[in-house]
Amino acid sequence: MKPAPQNPDEFESVKKLLALKRHEEPPPGYFDRLPGQVRARIAQAEAGPEPWWRRWAGLWDVLPAQATGYAAFACLLVLGAFWLANPSGSQNGRQLATTPTPPAVTNQANAGNLSNSAPTGLFNTPSLPVQPVEFKKQ
């Protein structure tokens, strides 16, 4: 989508207003101190080298395309490794899906337990001689 034909004076007020932002200044003396601060940070960075992941993250600022390439390559490596490791697993999966397996003995035992009846001894307490109680008014 292309912009409409631009009248040179159309945005004159906005342009003048924005140009005034050039007058904004940091606190006095800031630019006298900045080179020293940069040098101190460089020395600090060189004294304690950054971990590889921070250096890699920093690459996004300097060479974003290269950093994106590295990231894509790393993703491909991981996916490739996963794919290479997986075929045996997926084959087993297909076999499991197509080959009927005989029901295990333990499953049969468990199937019995899945009936509605409660396990013996848990709710089916031995019957006790219970006599009805009569309440009499006195």
Binding site: L17, F31, V62
Partner: protein, 208 residues
């Protein structure tokens, strides 16, 4: 923090100081003083672009330093395909854009910008002409305009804001901006048009 184009800032013709490439070659050989000179040469422009993108002095200070540190660390990869100025700007802009993405919804309490506008600029005829004449409410209108302008800038997308900053505030030409942002000139012009259009819409009550 006036807008300075690289040709204006390169002191090779104006003074006997070494040009950028000479300083870069010396810095690549480990000469920290040469790099100091490059920092001094471009610190205002780099701080300016970061500051107008973030509207925050502390962030601008931190990001400016980071940009110079990263440039030093990556200096060996600088082959001179583009000017040092463009290369350095690209690092600063990319770092700032990444920072803004990370802090998409920044705390507006910390935002400050034209509050530090100097007195001379406040009496600048352009600015006086933009706000409603010599009424008792002029100061209030001026302060409101500053706030409104900063808020409007922050409401632009990062891609639009960076183009406005580089062109309308810093005065860089379209082709230089295209090189910095790694896009074509038509894209720069389109973004600039829409950015100005949005700003005009947001500031319509304050602009004659």
């Amino acid at each position: 923090m006036a807008g300075v184009s690289p040709s204006q800032s390169a002191p090779a013709e104006a003074s006997p100081q070494p040009d950028d490439l000479t300083l870069v070659r010396r810095a690549q050989g480990g000469d920290a003083d040469a790099y100091d000179e490059l920092v001094r040469r471009y610190q205002r422009q780099i701080y300016g672009v970061v500051y107008h993108m973030t509207s925050h002095h502390e962030d601008a200070n931190d990001l400016t330093q980071e940009a110079f540190v990263k440039a030093w660390q990556a200096l060996k990869s600088f082959k001179g395909d583009s000017s040092f100025f463009t290369w350095l700007y690209r690092i600063a802009v990319n770092r700032t854009l990444n920072h803004l993405k990370q802090r998409k919804f920044r705390d507006s309490k910390h935002a400050m910008s034209l509050n530090d506008l100097d007195v001379e600029a406040e009496n600048h005829p352009d600015l006086v002409a933009l706000v409603s004449g010599r009424t008792p409410r002029r100061d209030a209108a001026l302060a409101e305009l500053k706030e409104k302008l900063n808020a409007a800038m922050q409401r632009l997308s990062e891609n639009h804001r960076v183009v406005v900053t580089l062109h309308d505030i810093q005065g860089l030409p379209h082709d230089e901006i295209a090189e910095i942002l790694d896009c074509n000139t038509a894209t720069v012009r389109t973004r600039l048009f829409y950015a100005r259009q949005q700003l005009q819409g947001m500031l319509s009550d304050y602009l004659k």
